[in-house]
Symmetry: C2
Subunit: 329 residues, 2 copies
């Protein structure tokens, strides 16, 4: 099934079930009003929504209405956890190579991951507001999963069983703040502003064969100011699958229902497939020509992130955001 | 007023109002069932609970019952944000000095802070479960605040207005995992297992003169295996006050209601006051004798953390935890 959260003026919005083709929606009110409720009590509520989903897909839901992605908040407008991996090692290799550094051998067995803020996510069409263009505004196109409860010490296979929903993420980054912040030693903080998510989160069964081995084998397309800049395959080059990423989170603590775990920037070794974040393009330019040429984003710029199934159907709907200055900024 | 969350088998527990002397409690059911509800709608719900609090303090609440800290979850059993500062620079200075490093000048103007996991907090009497004693099990006694909504770009003064509640935290750390994890560059993750909080969270007016300038001017006592090891003054040596810490969080994003912001380990320059985490004791031993002598915690060890007002009254109740191995561990 496909699920979204409609804006209704509240902090958590209203849960809706969305048809497979993203044309119709239906309030889930009878079963749950908020997505977190479903995640808290998945085994009881999910079957009810699956039934509604089928009715909707067959065009037989009486109170269905046209689905409008502009009405969407993030599927979870706020969450109890946002842990973002860096699972495409090609991305890490490029960043290191551009600054003449090696990738430590341990990076191929121990995932890189940071703990992100999760109290204020952006909807797929919300403006992305920043204080200054000098901060180095960059998008990052990613895959993310929402988990159920996963016990401390879970193996990657057990952790993979905890995947409840998949979605897309735009993990906004302020590149010029990163070097000084990481140099302090405690990881990202101000350099990672509010993250945006796709209109729709979907169960794994919606993905068929594309979801296998804990990886999503479909191309992720990024359009910057209306021009395609990336069409990166999300499957084969994901060094750590989602079960491994979730198990990393669960190593020393329980992971509770509604945790969001991200893949990090989707990245391919074949540069002709383009990029899922500008920083990577700048790394390639540095490796090839000694210095970056492409600038980061400006106020007014747009970014569109979407994943299309082999049949041409948009899986999650598109993230479409405009970069904007803070009021008075 | 003083608030706690009673275990009831649910993920978020039941909100109760607790009397000033921590002897009595009363369900807040008529106004809110969960603490997050209060934080989401503070201006509407808080006055109702203040009234109940007064009735309770006057011994006139009809359905009051004896307050039992053992029944408590963390005041927020799960939260949308846990951002922990390192506001006592003496702690940072000791850690650096022990390894022969300088504290960068910027550390005195720009707070150190990490983003922590917030999906699975421990109650004040919950066992602290770890996989191995070899991980370097350590407590960290801290002050923490719970905020309302604070807008992106808030000044420290504005941010301080966002403080809704104060409590104590035990920010468990796995010291032997920290060096390798920080060397990866993305900050803490597995080295910071589930954090525990005090039985009770209190509004600032409960603290009187002790709460001033965004700092809590009371001594924080830590007892390890029944022996007092720290009685550190939390006020004067807090380099960054809570308004500054919250403003740091809000620099590039909105901070939403229910965010928890921590002070970091309370630490004093006067070593005779003892310590609020074992790592600090080991730093002092290293500075004085060339190597640490005190070992980290063992399974079966206990830690008790409490703050007493000038009149002898426990402000937040005590965190009292036992260290335990994972089942089969």
């Amino acid at each position: 099934m496909k699920l979204a959260t409609y804006k209704d003026g509240s902090r958590d919005g209203q849960l809706v079930v969305v048809s497979r083709d993203l044309s119709l929606a239906h309030y889930a009110t009878g079963s749950a009003t908020r997505l977190q409720q479903l995640l808290d009590d998945w085994n009881f509520i999910a079957p009810q929504l699956q039934e509604l989903s089928q009715t909707l897909n067959h065009g037989k839901a009486r109170h269905a209405f046209p689905f409008d992605p502009a009405m969407c908040m993030a599927p979870l407008p706020r969450a109890y956890q946002w842990a973002d991996g860096s699972a495409y090692l090609n991305h890490v290799e490029l960043v290191r190579k551009a600054r003449g550094a090696e990738v430590p051998a341990s990076f191929y067995s121990d995932p890189l991951m940071y703990q992100g803020g999760s109290d204020d996510f952006l909807g797929p069409r919300d403006e992305a507001v920043f204080g200054s263009e000098e901060q180095g505004i960059d998008f990052e196109a990613e895959i993310a999963v929402i988990t159920g409860d996963v016990a401390m010490g879970a193996t990657p296979d057990q952790a993979l069983e905890g995947v409840r929903l998949l979605m897309l993420a735009n993990d906004w980054s302020l590149r010029q703040l990163i070097p000084a912040e990481l140099a302090k030693g405690f990881g990202f903080f101000q350099s990672k502003p509010a993250t945006a998510f796709s209109p729709v989160a979907v169960t794994a069964d919606e993905l068929g064969e594309a979801w296998r081995g804990g990886r999503l084998h479909l191309p992720l397309r990024s359009d910057w100011n209306g021009r395609q800049v990336g069409l990166c395959e999300a499957g084969p080059e994901m060094t750590f699958h989602f079960g491994q990423l979730i198990a990393h989170v669960a190593k020393t603590r329980n992971v509770r229902a509604g945790s969001i775990v991200g893949s990090g920037t989707v990245s391919n070794k074949d540069w002709s497939r383009g990029y899922s974040c500008i920083a990577e393009k700048r790394c390639i330019e540095t490796i090839e020509g000694g210095a970056p040429v492409t600038e980061f984003m400006r106020f007014g710029d747009t970014i569109r992130i979407e994943m299309t199934a082999r049949d041409g159907q948009s899986v999650f709907g598109a993230i479409e955001q405009r970069v904007a200055p803070t009021e008075g900024g």
